[in-house]
């Protein structure tokens, strides 16, 4: 079964995945949504870490450390960042972290990764601006985005048909670039939000 859901709070995501397992849906793979396998309902513990790896050996070493200590790596790749672990039945410990500081640090890593992603789009934005792909004139005079000859002299049904037919293409022509600043804003939002979670969760120690 496939479910689309998005979390910034790892604690909430863990709870939700445990609820799903309790209802007989076991996480098989998580990337742009969650793929579940149907099975027996199960009380289990699922924990999430956030890490990306430069080298394959580092990723293997990381997975081995968790599996040696009784945590099965159920989803995540070298570059996916989010790593999902499920507790083995005979594991004593209930968490993959033994102090608040290291538990909160995963939000810090998530935040700085999102920030880096946001910044990485900046050169592309500059290039698009310099090559006139980003044309602010389109805001002032959107008519220029329509290429159908004589479109603006047409009337009635003939006009509306041609106009509506070309509108999606005109939008693509004029505003396709806007996905870049939008993506940047989205990543910035993730970055700020998870940094706030980091501050909140590391404060827990003292409250």
């Amino acid at each position: 079964m496939f479910k689309f859901k998005f979390f910034l709070d790892f604690d909430k995501e863990e709870k939700w995945l445990e609820d799903m397992a309790r209802n007989g849906y076991h996480l098989n793979k998580a990337s742009f949504g969650y793929h579940f396998l149907e099975g027996e309902p199960e009380e289990t513990t699922i924990k999430i870490d956030y890490r990306r790896f430069k080298y394959k050996e580092d990723f293997l070493d990381y997975c081995s450390l968790f599996e040696d200590s009784g945590w099965k790596h159920i989803s995540g790749t070298k570059n996916s960042g989010i790593q999902y672990f499920k507790k083995d039945t005979n594991t004593e410990e209930d968490d993959i972290f033994s102090d608040y500081h290291s538990k909160a640090a995963r939000y810090k890593r998530y935040s700085s990764m999102s920030f880096q992603l946001a910044i990485s789009y900046l050169p592309l934005l500059v290039v698009f601006y310099l090559t006139d792909i980003i044309d602010f004139n389109a805001f002032v005079n959107p008519k220029e985005l329509y290429y159908t000859p004589g479109l603006w002299d047409k009337t009635g049904t003939s006009f509306w048909f041609s106009f509506l037919f070309e509108t999606p293409f005109a939008l693509m022509r004029g505003f396709a670039w806007s996905f870049i600043p939008l993506t940047m804003l989205l990543y910035l939002f993730f970055s700020i939000k998870s940094n706030r979670l980091y501050v909140q969760k590391s404060d827990k120690e003292f409250s």
Partner: protein
């Protein structure tokens, strides 16, 4: 080289350095530490991984050749050893001062009780 800036070591860091006097991989370190601390200090996998990463960055430990392809092996560096010695001396001094003062005050306390 200013080693003082690493002091005081946290209990976790101290035990990790101690566990690497002989080269070990992550899970072996976790087991050794549990044993050395009489099961009082248990470091979970995620915390251990982060701690190893930090100590590598600070060059207190280093990665050494390993026969196991899936597990990296680490060992303490000269710098790490020096920091460990400094922190041990720091604690020795604290214990000595504490013991001296506590034995004095228990004598005083005894007087008051009488």
């Amino acid at each position: 080289m200013d080693l003082e800036k690493h002091l005081p070591l946290t209990e976790t860091t101290y035990y990790i350095l101690l566990s690497l006097l002989e080269p070990s991989h992550g899970y072996m370190m976790m087991q050794k530490i549990e044993e050395m601390s009489n099961k009082r200090v248990k470091i979970a996998a995620g915390t251990m991984y982060g701690a190893i990463e930090n100590l590598l960055k600070q060059q207190l430990i280093k990665s050494v050749k390993s026969s196991d392809k899936r597990r990296k092996t680490y060992a303490i560096t000269e710098k790490g050893l020096e920091v460990l010695r400094l922190d041990c001396a720091r604690m020795k001094h604290m214990i000595q001062v504490t013991e001296n003062l506590l034995s004095d005050s228990s004598a005083i306390g005894g007087d008051i009780n009488v």
